[in-house]
Symmetry: C2
Subunit: 420 residues, 2 copies
Amino acid sequence: MNLHSVKGTRDFYPEEMRMRNWLFDVWRNTALQFGFEEYDACVLEHAELYTRKAGDEITEQLYSFEDKSGRHLSLRPEMTPSLARMVLQHQKALSFPLKWFSVPQCFRYERMTRGRRREHFQWNADIIGESSEIAEAEILSLLLTVCRNLGLTSKDICLFLNDRRILNEILDSIGVPEQLHPNVMVIMDKRDKVSSDAFTELLQQEEMALSQITRLNEFLAIPTMEELASKLGETKGLISLRKIMALMTQSGLGDFLKFDVSIVRGLSYYTGMIFEINDADKAQRAICGGGRYDSLLSTYGGGSIPAVGFGFGDVVILDVLSDLKKLPSFARRLDYLVVPFSADEIGMALTISNQLRQKGKSVECDYSLKKVKKALQRADELNVEKVVMLFPDELAAGKVVVREMQTRQQKNVSIEELTS
Amino acid sequence: MNLHSVKGTRDFYPEEMRMRNWLFDVWRNTALQFGFEEYDACVLEHAELYTRKAGDEITEQLYSFEDKSGRHLSLRPEMTPSLARMVLQHQKALSFPLKWFSVPQCFRYERMTRGRRREHFQWNADIIGESSEIAEAEILSLLLTVCRNLGLTSKDICLFLNDRRILNEILDSIGVPEQLHPNVMVIMDKRDKVSSDAFTELLQQEEMALSQITRLNEFLAIPTMEELASKLGETKGLISLRKIMALMTQSGLGDFLKFDVSIVRGLSYYTGMIFEINDADKAQRAICGGGRYDSLLSTYGGGSIPAVGFGFGDVVILDVLSDLKKLPSFARRLDYLVVPFSADEIGMALTISNQLRQKGKSVECDYSLKKVKKALQRADELNVEKVVMLFPDELAAGKVVVREMQTRQQKNVSIEELTS
């Protein structure tokens, strides 16, 4: 019998689960503070939701199958198509702009490397129905506040910002026909992962001339918006990015941001601002990424609804926090351990335990009827604050012995006082 | 384009999600108070985890498929096999007894009726490694405390209790060979769902004589443990149930319990106490059910490890609470709405919003630059407690106007006071 989880998937034992819940709680609570509302869809979707648009890597990595009625189903590889579906389905009843978030598990069948498994949980937050740069500023403020709440500073991470329109403007300026832009961008997104020669070769396969490739590489090496503006002029993409930068500075989060013309993002549906968060050297996979996608909903048959959002996985961020030694302790802890020392006291132990729980305390009962020393060892293992010991003589007087584990102080306390 | 979720699965729009989170929070917080630890496994498992043991209805309802490497995988139909797998895999590192809980989504491809979809979330809690009836008492106390925390009383629901050993003892006493017990119990579990004639016919197919079936029906109509004891004697199953009843009375939860010899439970792995919670008339599907399963872990290749646990789905309980009008309101609510009235104040609106969020407040910003009346309408829609209005004159003096929505009182407050 194979006792392992399926290759690429994870089990969460209690300590790992406490870590996961800690991360999810930061995601959820910060999103709620920013006025976002939580939603969810089923991990199982119609496969056509992902296969309609060819070209994305994501459609080649689907976990797909037919159900017993012949429906073509997939485990979701990302949340945005489900979000688009849900918004379009109830479009008339919803009042825009929507600010929605979710923490879905997503599946991709792919080669495994550090920070990349076949499933992960991915916090998604999106603003739907707001076309101004305020939406970008809200989304990025939420993200960076979460990073701060996780203990990360602008010394640890950087938010690299770009705009798909700028990339289109660059490709226009070097004469790449518009219909080739999507394929060229897929290649540009892989630039960090392949050799310079391979990059050239891939672009040549898309009918780009060597002179165009040289000019593209020159553009992608431009370090500042000012220098890019001097080559391209004040284009739509650059003007929009400047507005976002100004709003983020007003929000007190400007020091996290850096313009980076080489940011592309893998998904084909982005139409405006795009970004990634990474460490300042971009030494590893991006912690999270996203952007504006004003055309996606119309590809599913809806009207044109502007949208901006991101995905933030649980794997890379926990690796980053672990490397930086910024993870808190995830040891178990409990308020009380209640210990009877003979079978006669078990009934009273149950009663006291339940009364303490009704007061909101977390209570474990040790029914093993061991000696005091063993019970205190168990209390240490469980990381409890107080031990309630039930001895016949004290019980006869309506009392129990309460020991504070940290100070090792013990005193007799009346049961009434303890549980009221 | 099909915008619906897959048949039998659900979307959770924000209000539905708040309801789901409310239920999950009661499950989680109560389990933590009882000293249970949360775990999780992936929804995707090796199919053999479910297909090893034939006969269970569950194996015919699997969502199964092959991945790109030919692995036979299934979406989990229940959590207990994953729990068994995880416990056995780390058996040596774990200190027993374990008290673990989880809130997995489970999938079964089956006909849909009220309270039954093709997926649901199912709270599971189990105690592994404790053979005494104290484990049953802890599990049932946890469950009934959750029911009380959800607003249910012993007038609304009843915990129907039985023991698989009692069923075996009954079948022994009427001469049904042991090897037929599992199949006969599957039929007995369907007794409420089929006609009396169909029930007889199904049992005849398992080689039971009409006289045996008559005696079985007589046994299943016995209302009390006392009467059953007068027929069967004081058997192991009955003695064990009496101990559980006594412990539950000591826990102050005895009034929820009722012996019911007709409770069988569908899963074949139960070995001792079994139970269901339902309304007093058993008018609908069980709210939850479970029992002791001391042999399951050995069927997966482990040693014999005693275990007791339950599954508690999210669908039936919400129907029950809704029917009883015991659901609280799940309307959205926020602490603050911050409203600038011209583009010049947007920067300050961002700053104030983020400062309030850092204080732990939930804050929405209305950037639509509408008139005051519209802003207050929006505040009503959002169910916010206070509106912070940014007017140029007050801002020049370092102040904003704060309106309490409930009392309609407004006053000028310094920004420093508001945000510190």
